[in-house]
């Protein structure tokens, strides 16, 4: 899933290591999410959104639309 994690992280001036430390995960996880290799769990996505004070859909882009 495409996401804006890198954009938000760089906006705060944080390195991947700094964001990983704040979220309690490894740098590999941050790197995998930023490069679209891994979609985080719901709890981690919520923590990311809370950290950047945005809604989850502002961080993770999903083109799906409900049909009638």
């Amino acid at each position: 899933m495409k996401n804006r994690l890198k954009e938000h992280r760089e906006g705060k001036g944080w390195s991947q290591g700094e964001l990983a430390r704040r979220l309690g995960v490894s740098r590999q996880t941050i790197n995998a999410v930023e490069t679209d290799k891994y979609d985080p769990s719901l709890p981690l996505a919520l923590r990311m959104a809370k950290l950047f004070a945005v809604a989850v859909p502002d961080l993770f882009i999903d083109d799906w639309e409900p049909t009638e």
Binding site: S26, N31, T35, Y38, L44
Partner: protein, 218 residues
């Protein structure tokens, strides 16, 4: 057009790749040479080819465990040969890496002990079984500690590797067993099956790690 910075980055990635490839190739060659020398000597002359292969695979597990473990213990050197961004990343992962390395080395030792306990080996069957099972169980304990210390990406990767290993085992060992049952292939030797579990587990881990981008140079 290549900028000066992208050229430098490319050089740095190449350098980062070259060091582990050269070291890996050298260690692989020395291990194969060492095992071949050992098994061709008088002491292990009676060992079957399958048991020799098991010793070789076990030795690779031990060397991989020891190599990464030393890298974790000496992060400044480890950062040059392991796929991490910097020394700090290695220090952050030190505990998890060390327990994982001990598990790998013990699992490798278990395979070698079992291989050396069979026909033409140098260890009596019962002590070999007790030693092999003990190493496997203790190694699994360390792997569990490492798993518990891992974050969600590594736990997911572990689950994916397990599923993949199951499928590969069914595909390789299962199809071979089918053919052997139908007299279309020779039956597997137990040590071959055991060695295959090890090889498949390693292969599945690399595939799962590659799919999540963990093998891409950092």
């Amino acid at each position: 057009m290549m900028t000066e910075e992208s050229g430098r980055n490319e050089q740095s990635v190449l350098r980062k790749l070259a060091v582990p490839i050269v070291i890996g190739a050298a260690v692989g060659f020395v291990t194969m040479f060492g095992v071949s020398k050992l098994t061709s000597g008088d002491l292990l002359a009676g060992l079957s080819k399958a048991a020799e292969m098991a010793v070789l695979v076990g030795a690779f597990y031990i060397l991989a465990g020891v190599g990464v473990g030393l890298g974790a213990l000496r992060p400044r050197i480890g950062a040059k040969i392991l796929n991490v961004e910097d020394v700090e990343e290695l220090e952050e992962q030190k505990g998890k890496l060390l327990t994982s390395c001990i598990a790998m080395a013990l699992w490798g030792a278990a395979l070698i002990i079992i291989a050396l306990g069979g026909e033409g080996g140098i260890i009596a069957p019962l002590p070999a079984l007790i030693g092999g099972v003990a190493m496997l169980v203790i190694g699994s304990g360390f792997a569990w500690v490492s798993y518990r210390a891992s974050d969600e990406l590594m736990q997911m990767l572990n689950a994916e590797a397990t599923v993949l290993a199951y499928s590969l085992t069914l595909g390789v060992v299962g199809v071979w067993a089918m053919a052997a049952h139908l007299d279309l292939a020779r039956a597997q030797e137990p040590i071959e099956m055991l060695t295959m579990f090890y090889v498949i587990a390693m292969l599945a881990t690399f595939i799962a790690a590659g799919r999540r981008g963990l093998l891409a140079p950092r």
